[in-house]
């Protein structure tokens, strides 16, 4: 479940003979410009389509009108208010979903009984489309924050669970034997072996969960909400305010990226020892 495949490929180390240091540094700088340049191209295409008259302005608004709408929302404080509502749901759902998934994943990896008992149900739970059960969750848990947190928790649960199980099961048996020979307690084994060894894969799951958590909160807000970025998108749809819809979508994306950045930062911080040791 690790999404490392999304990261740009790392070029093989070149020898000093094959490439000079200066051109390499220049090439790196050039690579840094690729994503912004591609973004500008997309923006240009969008502007051309919007201005071509192929579509009415309320179907494809110009980037300028979206930016203007976004700025209006940001300057009157309403964007912050709605983003705070979504962030509240996202962080609460994420914390609960990730914690439960890690705990359950740990026990599924450790105990065959738990694995055989729970796995079929957990897989079945994952196959249920969250969009289909979201209205039911709103009916069962009300339209307040609880239902959104549950939807969010459910959506982040599975990637974290699977990665925890894979991470824990991937620890070599001889390392467990070593800890046993040293008469380590279960807590010591967890803290000094299992957690650090599984961490790279667990954090991969966290990065996937973080981005999904935003989707979860928005699904809940789509069904029923009086505030939040999902609500703002619904409001925009209801009033044919397409710039508002797009402005809210961009804000959601920025929120997801910021949370992903935090998770990536956490990974960097916790796995620094791996880099230092040259482990990929």
């Amino acid at each position: 479940m690790d999404n490392a495949h999304l990261a740009p490929p790392v070029p093989h180390e070149r020898t000093a003979e094959s490439s000079a240091a200066l051109p390499r540094a220049r090439r790196r700088r050039w690579h840094l410009l690729l994503a912004p340049a591609f973004g500008l191209c997309l923006l240009a295409v969008w502007t051309l389509v919007a201005r071509s008259g192929m579509y009415a302005a309320f179907i494809v608004p110009t980037p300028a009108s979206v930016a203007e709408r976004w700025w209006g929302l940001a300057s009157d404080g309403s964007l912050l208010r709605h983003a705070a509502v979504t962030l509240r749901e996202v962080l609460t759902g994420l914390l609960i979903g990730v914690a439960v998934a890690f705990w359950l994943g740990y026990w599924i990896a450790k105990s065959r009984t738990v694995a055989y008992t729970l796995t079929p149900y957990l897989v079945a739970l994952q196959t249920v489309p969250i969009v289909a059960i979201a209205p039911l969750l709103i009916i069962w848990f009300g339209s307040g924050i609880a239902s959104k947190v549950i939807i969010c928790g459910l959506i982040v649960f599975f990637p974290m669970l699977v990665n925890t199980v894979i991470g824990m099961r991937g620890i070599p048996a001889e390392l467990h034997d070593l800890l046993r020979s040293l008469e380590a307690t279960p807590l010591q084994t967890f803290w000094h072996l299992e957690l650090p060894a599984a961490l790279p894969i667990v954090l991969g799951g966290l990065k996937v969960s973080v981005t999904l958590s935003v989707v979860g909160a928005v699904v809940g807000e789509f069904v029923s909400a009086s505030a939040g970025l999902g609500y703002l998108i619904n409001f925009g749809r209801g009033t044919y305010d397409t710039p508002l819809v797009i402005a809210a979508v961009f804000t959601l994306t920025a929120l997801a990226l910021a949370l992903y950045g935090l998770a990536a930062g956490l990974e960097r911080l916790l796995l620094g020892w791996q880099r230092a040791n040259g482990t990929p």
Partner: protein, 344 residues
Amino acid sequence: MPAQTLSFRRRALLLAALAVALALLLIAAYALTREDEAQGDQTKVTLFMSYVPSVQFAPVYVAAQRGYFADEGIAISFENSFNEADGVERLANNDLQFGIISGEQVVLARAQGRPVVYVFEWFHRFPVGIVSPARLNITRPADLAGRIVGVPGPQGASYIGLRALLNAAGLTEDDLSELRSIGFAAPENVCEGKVEASVVYIVNEPLTIQQQCTEVNVIEVSDYATLVANGLVTNEQTVRDKPDLVRGMVRAVQRGIADVIADPDAAFDIAVTHYVKDLPKDQYETQRQVLLNSVKLWHSDALGQTNPQAWAVTQDILIEAGLLSAPLDDLSACYNMSFLPEQS
């Protein structure tokens, strides 16, 4: 890489700082979204409404702002959703006590054993119609024959309205070139020419199409059939256990509607200042017109009173459309007008 050179202690500190930052973020998010608590002696009521916060709901906004709900001992809050059926389900479960629901949903819900009760008619004219570009000259239901017609989906007030119009012209769905499900995207589909006509909510969507692309013709369902439109709906448990609460809600909504009919401009200001705050100012004039269009549908000599004949017609259309298999044992149980104040 700075991380490579960090000592264990430094990394632990950074981790702690990250945890504190996350906690602060969460606290800030909760603090920014804290809601006002209701007064202790008031009954908290959440009023369910379909769609999104809109000037079309100005009567309840006015009633809230002018203290009509508070006068009845009610601390009101509003909840909007695109899914009216969810609202009906929650009303039936008594998770919610009140909602603004369309009449045909009440009939369908009661047919499925959901104990919902319509206690106040808000819209005295059915707010659904057919919009089409003026150049196509679709001015009567009979003109729909051979046309591609869009509808949000094969259910709900829009679909019932369409069936009523087809009935009025002696047409069936087979007489249309195509009945296309387009979701709530009539303006986009009409402006792009993907459908020749579309079922719409007449107070706002024809206006949007007119402003965005073309002059339109509108066929209003209420000119051809008397169907039960949106009203205040509660459930049997609330009617039985809290009749004073129902009476208070009815009175407050009725006062709100009367105020808006009397002074739409003041109502508009209240709505956009306090409840539809995300509406940009450049849409104010359009939305003011939406409110005026809505007011036309609320007028009645007996505000809130429903017409039993309209319930019978609604039930017949539902049966004919295949959405209801048989007439209800007691259609009159769908509504209860005993909570209306005496007409002076």
